[in-house]
Symmetry: C2
């Protein structure tokens, strides 16, 4: 699925948000976890089955109003090979429901290894001359500390398969300035990174006016959002930090272009854990929070 498809879905649903599917067991209602422990014992499989059930329930509750999901690889890796299966199946289930998938993997390596990552998440794996999809996501996050050698293999895969990447530029966390905001030969590192992202994106422009190469820019830094927006006018921003990390809809307005497009805002815990703050079941609570978030963000950008 290309960035065009995502932009069309954002327009159709009037909703520039993505649901982070990053379940730790404590985010999942205990009746689900207990049921699976009864069946599978206290095992990683029980945890993985719980996550799978929770993910499916969230996708069912959200797919008609939210255009995309963002599974965070760490929480799947925490459950070993069973978690890997849940990641693969969650992507597949989201696709069945027409959702775009951003794999939040923050991978970074060089040459053949970067190619292997790109094929694993965006492309296919070849066995005996047959090409097989693996995790089959539509896009993924990457870290470019290693320079172009780490990004070019992803660009190649994006060209081959109409997929996309989001390069870490200015992350949402408190210590992101330790390196990213320090001056590098006249400009902060995050600006240097943003300039590279704009360059890498040039060859992957699509008909919607946006490139398959976007940037991760934290909602918690509105000033930096504005600066990066000017450097990468044609890149989509993946924006973490809304809600649980403290950023408001107003903080995010700078991430959008005048066309009301150009950014997709993530909420993970806000949506997953909405049931903890009310008397609704987790599906209805997630849906209501997704609607609240959509309206909150749309009102701030239009």
């Amino acid at each position: 699925m290309s960035i065009n498809t995502l932009v069309n879905a954002i327009r159709a649903k009037n909703n520039p948000t993505v649901a982070g599917l990053d379940a730790r067991l404590e985010y999942i209602p205990s009746y689900i976890v207990e049921k699976n422990i009864t069946v599978y014992g206290k095992t990683l499989q029980a945890a993985a089955e719980s996550m799978w059930e929770f993910n499916k329930g969230l996708i069912d509750a959200l797919y008609d109003i939210v255009p995309a999901i963002k599974p965070q690889a760490a929480y799947y890796e925490l459950l070993g090979p069973d978690g890997a299966r849940v990641l693969r199946d969650t992507v597949s289930y989201a696709h069945e429901k027409g959702m775009y998938v951003i794999a939040d993997i923050k991978r970074n390596d060089i040459g053949a290894t970067a190619t292997a990552y790109a094929q694993a998440y965006l492309g296919e794996s070849e066995v005996g001359g047959l090409s097989l999809p693996v995790y089959n996501c539509d896009s993924c996050t990457v870290n470019a500390y290693l320079g172009s050698d780490g990004i070019n293999p992803f660009l190649t895969e994006c060209k081959n398969s109409n997929r996309g990447i989001y390069v870490l530029v200015k992350t949402s966390n408190k210590s992101s300035g330790e390196f990213q905001n320090r001056d590098m030969e006249g400009k902060p590192l995050y600006v240097r990174m943003a300039e590279k992202v704009a360059k890498w994106g040039e060859e992957l422009m699509t008909e919607c006016g946006y490139s398959e190469v976007g940037a991760v820019v934290g909602a918690t830094y509105p000033e930096e959002q504005k600066i990066v927006r000017e450097i990468i006018p044609h890149g989509y921003f993946l924006v973490p930090g809304y809600g649980a990390q403290g950023a408001t809809a107003k903080d995010i307005a700078n991430a959008f272009n005048d066309d009301g497009l150009g950014a997709i805002v993530n909420s993970s815990r806000g949506i997953m854990c909405a049931w903890k703050k009310c008397d609704l079941d987790y599906q209805e609570a997630a849906r209501q929070e997704a609607i609240r978030m959509r309206d909150d963000i749309v009102s701030a950008i239009r």
Copy 2:
């Protein structure tokens, strides 16, 4: 397994090298791949079973002379959930044979997500109050572009479980200078990174005189090796780039301290693909290449 154990093994085997287990199918002798395709069809499972057989064979051929393995996560992820199983089982098999395991995962995230990665690779996953090992490696590589927020959760896990990390400082690839060598307020970024690594390592010093916090410093940059060696005297260096990437034993001498310790040099394709350059089977070819590499490196540092 702590860095102490690795240092003891390096001393006992007089061998400061690590075998990279990064198999793509084309690195595996075709009789193994064809046999598994016959059994499992042209599937990711066939590929994964081939990788598992190849890895076991390499570990059997190397464990008495090489102290450590370094599986590169990308090649396991390329085979989906079956690849995740092979990664877990390879780590376990290497441990049975007494080898130290460096998971080359270059992970980077913040807060709870970084904790999930640290638990997945170095710690344990909790299900219903029971703590279960997941990938159970002895150390892993990490990327610190996100600053201390991305590293502290790993340090916590290293303290809890006597494990280690190697932070990317100066990578071996050609474009690593695009960011890493540019001046950041008076010093190159890789020097700034090295200074942080030295700091992060202070609280994780062990009896062998080295910290659980080390650095990745490419063999292809001997000058930078020397500079980083001075900044991080007590950190172990994981050194990629020997052989296939063009660096020689002489290029690596700067990575070592005067005690002949302080670095572990990786070879992946050199060992895995040794059989392609001779008439020996892959196990004997790998062993001979590992011995040649050991002698080559030991002669350059003593």
